[in-house]
Symmetry: C2
Subunit: 138 residues, 2 copies
Amino acid sequence: MEEKKFRSHCSISSSLDLFGDKWSLLIVRDLLYHKQRTFKDFSQSTEKISSARLSDRLTKLEHVGILTKKNHPTNKKVFLYELTQKGRDLTPIIAEFILWGYRYLKDHISESSKAIAEELIQNKTVVIEKFQKGVILK
Amino acid sequence: MEEKKFRSHCSISSSLDLFGDKWSLLIVRDLLYHKQRTFKDFSQSTEKISSARLSDRLTKLEHVGILTKKNHPTNKKVFLYELTQKGRDLTPIIAEFILWGYRYLKDHISESSKAIAEELIQNKTVVIEKFQKGVILK
DNA sequence: ACAAATAACTTTCGAAATGAAAGCAATAAA
DNA sequence: TTTATTGCTTTCATTTCGAAAGTTATTTGT
């Protein structure tokens, strides 16, 4: 009983099979902006993911190796999620989403979204490196 | 009765609201590789999208302004889909998907996928420009 | 010490989205 | 003028989803 993971051998299609949905990249986004997040933190982000969906996505992303779950140093009931290198390497994808949104959804997105896009336009490489290193931008 | 399109004012989330699913970017991919595609062409790509889903996605992507539908010059029952500038500007996102897949799904993806990734690694800017201009790479 | 609050889920359930298959109308090919 | 083809639409069983309530192990407040 092995599950069929991938629809094809195309890298785009296969990547989409892993995190191509409406929530996964938002979880990654939160971890790029904050480095560590708890279940509750994710629950409180503006898009209001349901706990069932969040639980499901965190499990999947952990299995796929994009993030890890670890114990909180002092509080036993809290867990800390953070990106792996594999997860941090999604930064360029996220960055291009930001830039596309900046270009085509300008009258809808927030000022802070715009600010990040403008930083990216100024110096994409540096900003992406900052994200990957866990430097909080927002 | 306006429909709520967006979950938030985040550019990532909003972009995902438009094309964040398992099929939309594959349609865009096909149009980057081929410039013009018919309904049948899309139906025949390796991931085997169902006609109901394909119809639905083409309509949505057209409404969102990512692609256009036009008549075939000689055959009245065929329609030609092609990307708009807005759609072609998804190229950097697609490119980053290719690169991430190359890095992390190397033992699963096809040789042609790898070849494109290697071209991107050699010279990302030039390859992306080629894609955007409709130069067929594969 | 003990009750109340909290974090991280899990469960339930109705609604929406999906895939597979069949059906259909217009046009083109034989 | 029959047959095939294209581009869908329809149907329907299955899967996925969101919203809300429930559960368990801690932890906090008194």
